[in-house]
Point group: D2
Chain length 384, copies 4
Amino acid sequence: MNIISKDLKQQGIFSKEIMHVGEMASGAALTVPVYRLKGDSDAPSAYIQANMHGAEVQGNAVIYQLLEVLRSEGLIDKIKGDITLVPYANPVGCNHKNGEYTLGRFDPITGVNWNRMYHFNQKVIAPFAKQNIDSSTEQVTSAFKQMLLTEIDEKLNDNKWGLTTGQRIAYQLQRMAHQADYVLDLHTGPISSKHLYCPEYAKQSAHFFDIEHTIIIPNDFDGAMDEANFCPWWTLQQEFSQLGRDFPIINESFTVELGSQEKIDLDVAKEDALSILSYLNYKGVVENEAFKPRKMQRYGCYLKDYKAFYSPMGGMVDYLADFGVPLKAGQPLARILRMDNYGDGDALHYLSFDHEVLPILHFASASVNQGTELYKVFTRFFDL
Amino acid sequence: MNIISKDLKQQGIFSKEIMHVGEMASGAALTVPVYRLKGDSDAPSAYIQANMHGAEVQGNAVIYQLLEVLRSEGLIDKIKGDITLVPYANPVGCNHKNGEYTLGRFDPITGVNWNRMYHFNQKVIAPFAKQNIDSSTEQVTSAFKQMLLTEIDEKLNDNKWGLTTGQRIAYQLQRMAHQADYVLDLHTGPISSKHLYCPEYAKQSAHFFDIEHTIIIPNDFDGAMDEANFCPWWTLQQEFSQLGRDFPIINESFTVELGSQEKIDLDVAKEDALSILSYLNYKGVVENEAFKPRKMQRYGCYLKDYKAFYSPMGGMVDYLADFGVPLKAGQPLARILRMDNYGDGDALHYLSFDHEVLPILHFASASVNQGTELYKVFTRFFDL
Amino acid sequence: MNIISKDLKQQGIFSKEIMHVGEMASGAALTVPVYRLKGDSDAPSAYIQANMHGAEVQGNAVIYQLLEVLRSEGLIDKIKGDITLVPYANPVGCNHKNGEYTLGRFDPITGVNWNRMYHFNQKVIAPFAKQNIDSSTEQVTSAFKQMLLTEIDEKLNDNKWGLTTGQRIAYQLQRMAHQADYVLDLHTGPISSKHLYCPEYAKQSAHFFDIEHTIIIPNDFDGAMDEANFCPWWTLQQEFSQLGRDFPIINESFTVELGSQEKIDLDVAKEDALSILSYLNYKGVVENEAFKPRKMQRYGCYLKDYKAFYSPMGGMVDYLADFGVPLKAGQPLARILRMDNYGDGDALHYLSFDHEVLPILHFASASVNQGTELYKVFTRFFDL
Amino acid sequence: MNIISKDLKQQGIFSKEIMHVGEMASGAALTVPVYRLKGDSDAPSAYIQANMHGAEVQGNAVIYQLLEVLRSEGLIDKIKGDITLVPYANPVGCNHKNGEYTLGRFDPITGVNWNRMYHFNQKVIAPFAKQNIDSSTEQVTSAFKQMLLTEIDEKLNDNKWGLTTGQRIAYQLQRMAHQADYVLDLHTGPISSKHLYCPEYAKQSAHFFDIEHTIIIPNDFDGAMDEANFCPWWTLQQEFSQLGRDFPIINESFTVELGSQEKIDLDVAKEDALSILSYLNYKGVVENEAFKPRKMQRYGCYLKDYKAFYSPMGGMVDYLADFGVPLKAGQPLARILRMDNYGDGDALHYLSFDHEVLPILHFASASVNQGTELYKVFTRFFDL
């Protein structure tokens, strides 16, 4: 049984609430469970959510294992900063089936990617920097967080023309994320290795996750949760820098890609929970010297060098290249079957590159149209 | 029978080809039929496509009626400029069913809107303007068209990382559109009045279509066919202007919204064909004084004032407001049924605005989630 | 406001409960609201449900109008028998969107029609008849209802191998329906006239609905709600008949097709509510002489003569034949556009029959594959 | 290159044709490639098709490997009977994506399973048996095949009310299958072990496939390809038996489940090709002593004991039981995560049976509703 003792609840160490994020046509409420662990100090806080894309379920299992580890004997006392955990973050995507699979990458009505609806208003940063040029770091941090919250509240309460279904969900999640110092958005690839999207300034932190592959991303906002959290802070730093002030960024935000979608593996989830605890320990959110990163070969790649390869033909794909193993020029990435050509031409096509790549993920199905995203690969990768 | 006489074919006045735009998993070719009518002079040319969004089929019927009118006795001689007609422009969207309806607004794999994949590279315009500052209008026009074609050809032939399924289709259509002077992309709304998206500089042309509602759009590229065609010319004009040259824009491009999706009405299509012929006659592509615009009240509205209203609740909608009739402040737009509230609260909610609007279209289904786009309305509209 | 007075609630005349019918992947409960009006006598009772197919929403509006009429001044006293009203009967189908439309005709995972999952075990009838050959009609009726309930309870509680998602919903609805004497399952066609599925023995009752078209169906169980309710009683009558007893069937069950799917019209719903009240008045469930059927031409047709016509070609359809108006041999039913044939052959195909038919409904979209169900028509129809 | 030599083509040993099986809304033809290898004797013939369900693609790879083996040096001479090979049997299902996966188990418009649309008219068998009671086995066989073909031709040519999209495809495939003596319909499970559906009378043949698990099915027609082929012959035998004649069944028909859907593995396909060649060698269609079944533990189970287990709750599933390994009573089949219960109750539920089972396949996704088919298992299994 995973019942939290009354004791912990009464002390306010563990709490749980149900957040209302929308309504369906029948009036059925769209709800999201929110778990909060209260730290025993004013150490930095963390926000972790999972399953914004419907088929990317493994993060829920990681949150389960995080809670199981944290509430195990003796450990709950070592929680220094507040931790907020949100599984099933997107109740539309999570429950939307088409055939046997979960069609949860985009709003089924509009096609808009659920992870492209967060908010960032770049225009408010420069005035804020000017206004707070002489405040202390603590004052700046506190006032900036407040401004981000106010921004979101205004979006949520601006109902003259309404919000889209996805914005209403996203903004409510973002509201919680903005209150934390460290934000982890747990995703997965289609069929995929583990990899991490990491803002350039937080590169050092990538060493504390047990994740082999890190994509280093610039300060561009494209609507995703991680960007919505780090872009404001990064931009603030840059604005201060232009004003001659050297402002440290405390906040960090990552998209953690846990492996493949449509899969729950609680044993692997335990490993990923420990990987996250290693990061949280490094940051002082929890304190336990057992939470250390594993030794492993870590590869980095800049986002501009992380390439999608679109299928040059329609067909059925036998994916050959292993993830995380450098694929030399000329080695087969995949072979595509085209039975309709049998007898007249090539029924089997081998694909390869003319330079080395590091395969990270591939498409979820063997059936591809011409132009389907087949593989994503690191091109110019380096030891991290 | 709609057989074109050998005579017309031999004279090259009518021709038809099948364009290969992609491949499905089974190897099945994705094809698009292309009809060409050859003008008898060097008058400006037109490109008209339909059905880029799968459910928006009425444009195919309009192309049918255009051909029927143009090949009727005597008329074929009055075709001055070349006319290219492309029905079924998107063979993936056109044939993709989910349940009884056509799921053709976005790529079913990625969710990307099929009409957001066209190409425009703003960076090439300024250097071109500088280089051609002293060329004649004819030279500029010819060289600029050639540059646009080269741009597209490079995209189509750059196969190192491939193209998405939608890009491959879009670029091949765009390649044909760039060769014409006037481009009409035939769409429909969900349940909708007729309306026209018109670039600001071509406002005068809106009077030649038999369409009551015109949205005047700025020179921003967001990936759509109409923008991909007029943005280059508009930008070129602006670049020349900065260099002190007054360059006339000949090219015009419109998205023509023919009414509601999932419907074919050949009688209404005949009217829309005549509306288009009125525009083509005005522009000299065809020559027939019978092709005159009808007298009607025409309303205009700037894109920034064309507002989507998102449902403030989940529920089932009885749409009340008529299209094209100004809806006064406080008058009911729609009422939303929420049977689950019956007995305890409000089961019926009336929606209205606190200012006048002109309803243009509404959602296709009575079932909406909180946040579904319910209506689109003109807010500050004016006589055009 | 649609708040039911405390008074009515306290007297037990109106009650409302939320039925739990399943769970989604996130744990979200699937619930259905159930409204009960208590009659003031032991008059026969009625069960009315709506929206088992997700896009067929108009029945919810009819239930709304039924409640509005019944609770209006003075009328609530005239409710003689119990009435149970269930809108949003299928919370999966009701809320499942694919694109703008509701994909609610079948389980999105399995493809099984939601209205083919009810239960009827023919084997139990003959033994029951034998055992109760000498019981009074009242005793038989009571014992038979009890047996049907026990059958359903056993299905619901047999959890060794589990139930499908749809069975769990259907059985819980059926459990309520079996307790009533008259059962109405409110559906709609795709784009459709109003029509009624009526068991042969209840033919007389068709005159009390304001519905022009009645399909007379035999005693065959194919999994639908109406069949699951009348087949047992009809079969019981036949078994008794073979044993030499003339047993009257009191129970009646209908599928009421209210018109087109994806539409809410509260004004039309008011008319349909009155039509249903006319039937309930005829049967003594309510008592009000104002509830009388309207005079209209009523057509009947046996199920075997109610024909689906599948499209002989792929194409885009301009539906021509009006519903409810006899279409003479040779008159056009529809015309199909095939632009791809333009220039080489027939781009427009007219469809007609070589005998008279009465068109009842047609497909929801203009786009059809070869073999899509285009129209359903009465062939040998007669005045009812 | 998989080009067949002109020589083989000229001798008529290899031929290929494109079968037209339907049309889409745009007029696009639905086509299926058909490969024929001509045997050098009047030995029995075989028909093998793949990919009737869109996501079940591996059979296409098996057909590829069959052709590769058969046309390899020397082997083509050992083809005794005609072999017809049909990959991509269902062009609608094969190419229909929803999100990244293939929604190809049922017609996306109607929900009807593509493998439930074949034809069998039981009524014609008894008269045929009576009429041919004195004919020789050869005469009976030939006349019976002819009757089956005539039946199908009548269905295909009866166009008064039309055929559904799926019937038109199914009947054209069935027409080819009826001409063969041995029919293999290549499918896959969702995530699955290899298994074979085998008619009871052909049980002996199961030993010649390299497939561990065999489901022995009775002579009931439920619309599937295998049934449509063996039910007529089995019924004929029974009719003759009742007339006192002992008639041998030559024809056999199987559904071969190759493993998991959405996967192409050409190496595994080679093994499956050899497994099929072992069967064809046993039956004399090919002749090569290298084609022998592998030694393996083969389990059998009657269809009535092949049980689907429906999820007792909604949730996210960590599938634990391995395929093909007996799972003892009480051993965990799966565990279901229900994070929403965390803190208040059980967040993790273990599922097991109270008796031994042999797991054969499980659902394709980790996300299940209450009532989703979770596992299929052999209950009373035995050594075959």
